[in-house]
């Protein structure tokens, strides 16, 4: 089960004579300062256009003026947050390479929450202002706005969709829905943003009149649209024009198996150990779902291996796929790579199937990094890729520690106590620590290594895919 597992004997017609490792993905994303600068300037320019249109003057016009000003500001904030949310969830490569998908999705959540609450505030303020200035009640004002003003029904319906999307993402409600039910509802966000766009141009007092401001707003929307289309549709086009299929499915240990993916789609791919892909098998009943799985060995021109725990219905289905099944890979994603250690020595900690990215990270380490690998499993029989780990550790001047025992045992005897860590790894304070495993274990390891003297920015965890 050592290197033979990488040998895709079943792949027919391999035209590349020599097997070589695919190039590693580089951290080539936009510098953080540039991202911050762009985001701040977009907000600043938008606010300046608002001020230029007399926004500040409204505050001197009594209560109606103040309500109008707040209505305009919350409207702008909602629109900008919605654009930001679309942008990060489109995960353009320039941002993903820098921040990693998990943080992009966290940002998406933040943008989404902001957009829902500001758009509600915007609705309230503008209805109020319209009721005041046309001397009617709120209900008539709302009805007049949404049924008599261009694109206002679109805005009202878009707002309703935003509220539905927001509430289905509320943790308790989300848990009650299947992932896909939630996801398809979430996709309506695109529709909501499009429906709400019209009224920004026809009624947005900043953008309806002044031509420069209007073009600024249109340019922002078009840029967002272009990036979304480019990143999302680009992924689909790429996977269709450069096909990949399953070349082998291998049982690795109790409940853990691996699938090997190969094909012309590997050309021009750049992958580092520790990264993951969204896998979408083009098989009956599975094609509409994509799930994240970590690469578990250095990918070569012969193929990429994913190590998968048969925990749920979908991962079990994946491990039952026949060789030859087409798959779409989206990625690679993640910044959980050895680049983060900048050549320093490392400790790699894996729990359960967290061994997949850790195994691939280990292969990307050099002998100078003297990797110390700690694997926690509930029983020795659960450890996948043991022979590979032993061989890789040896060739890289490292050591392998396998901790086998139940969770109950480990919670009573914490193996990650600082004193124990220091005893086993005397130079731990000078090392970078990479952790991938169940959430509770990751927290225990982080607490332990911090106390053992590892700086926070040298602790790296994979939060998304286990």
């Amino acid at each position: 089960m050592s290197t033979e597992a990488l040998d895709h004997a079943s792949v027919p017609n391999m035209t590349t004579p020599a097997v070589r490792r695919l190039p590693r993905s580089r951290i080539t994303g936009l510098p953080r300062q540039a991202v911050t600068a762009i985001a701040l300037s977009v907000v600043a320019i938008t606010v300046l256009f608002w001020v230029a249109a007399g926004g500040l003057g409204l505050f001197g016009q009594g209560s109606t003026g103040i309500v109008q000003a707040l209505g305009q500001l919350t409207g702008l904030a909602a629109a900008l947050a919605a654009m930001g949310g679309l942008l990060v969830t489109a995960r353009p490569a320039g941002l993903e390479r820098r921040y990693g998908l998990d943080r992009m999705l966290a940002a998406h959540r933040w943008f989404g929450i902001t957009a829902v609450f500001t758009v509600l505030a915007h609705t309230v303020f503008d209805t109020w202002a319209w009721a005041e200035s046309s001397h009617t009640n709120w209900f008539s004002a709302f009805a007049a706005l949404s049924t008599q003003q261009a694109w206002m029904m679109g805005a009202a319906v878009g707002t309703a969709l935003f509220v539905i999307i927001g509430s289905t993402s509320y943790r308790r409600l989300r848990q009650a829905l299947s992932y896909e039910t939630w996801y398809f509802i979430h996709l309506l966000g695109y529709l909501a943003v499009i429906l709400a766009f019209g009224h920004q141009l026809t009624l947005g007092s900043n953008f309806a009149g002044g031509t420069v401001a209007r073009w600024w707003w249109i340019a922002l929307a078009l840029t967002t649209l272009a990036l979304v289309v480019w990143s999302r549709i680009g992924v689909i086009v790429k996977s269709l024009t450069r096909p990949l299929s399953i070349s082998a499915v291998v049982a690795e240990s109790r409940g853990i198996g691996s699938i090997h993916v190969a094909g012309p789609g590997l050309q021009r791919m750049r992958v580092s150990g520790g990264q993951y892909f969204m896998i979408r098998p083009l098989a009956r009943g599975l094609w509409w779902q994509a799930h994240p799985f970590s690469v578990s060995a250095a990918p070569t021109t012969r193929g990429i291996r994913f190590t998968i725990k048969a925990s749920g219905e979908d991962s079990q289905a994946l491990l039952r796929l026949r060789p030859g099944t087409r798959v779409l890979l989206e990625g690679p994603y993640g910044t959980f790579t050895t680049d983060r250690a900048r050549g320093r020595r490392v400790v790699l900690v894996a729990g359960g199937v967290g061994i997949a990215p850790i195994r691939a990270l280990l292969e990307d380490c050099n002998a100078g990094q003297q990797p110390v690998v700690i694997v926690r499993v509930s029983a020795e029989a659960d450890l996948a890729h043991r022979a590979e780990l032993e061989q890789l550790v040896e060739s890289r001047n490292g050591t392998l520690h396998v901790l086998a025992g139940s969770r109950a045992f480990f919670s009573a005897n914490d193996p990650f106590q600082p004193a124990r860590l220091r005893a086993v790894i005397p130079d731990i304070a000078q090392r970078d620590v990479f952790i991938c495993g169940p959430h509770a274990m990751e927290s225990a390891v982080i607490a332990g290594v911090r106390k053992a003297g590892v700086a926070t920015d040298r602790i790296h965890r994979e939060e998304f895919s286990v």
């Binding site: 409204l58 003026g65 003003q149 029904m153 679109g154 309506l188 529709l191 909501a192 009624l203």
Partner: protein, 147 residues
């Protein structure tokens, strides 16, 4: 029902509903109906005038009225005329000096344009935008007087 359809259904129903409601009810998509329902028109219309510019109005010339100063700023209208007949009227200048004016006028101007194009100088006017309505009427009256 397959698992896919079952999970797609809520989103599909919501999405279709959203599109149907907006398609049927949004004033931007139904300027003519909005007009028929009591003189209200969609913002940015001018479509009422466009619909009337048949025959003789196709060869109409453009006349610009004087700038009328109101308490909140200047109003000026432009009309296309054929002989003594008004084909279409639209404002070329209106008060935008402060946010409140620009908000009010973003509602009012398109309505005034449509009303004036339909009804001439004796158009109904927009309540809540009295100053703009008066300035609009004066500028248009000057055009009509000059014909």
């Amino acid at each position: 029902m397959s698992p896919l359809l079952r999970r797609l259904a809520p989103a599909a129903v919501l999405g279709s509903l959203a599109v149907i409601v907006v398609g049927l009810l949004d004033p931007a998509l139904h300027p003519s109906r909005a007009l028929a329902n009591g003189g209200q028109v969609a913002v940015g219309s001018g479509t009422a005038a466009a619909a009337r510019s048949t025959g003789s109005c196709a060869t109409a010339k453009t006349v610009t009225g004087p700038v009328v100063d109101t308490q909140y700023g200047p109003v000026q209208v432009q009309a296309t005329v054929n002989g003594r007949q008004l084909c279409a009227v639209k404002a070329v200048q209106w008060p935008l000096s402060d946010g409140r004016s620009s908000m009010i006028n973003s509602y009012a101007i398109p309505q005034l344009d449509a009303q004036a194009s339909q009804q001439g100088v004796n158009f109904d006017g927009v309540s809540g935008a009295t100053y703009t309505t008066d300035g609009y009427r004066q500028s248009l009256q000057a055009i009509v007087d000059s014909l």
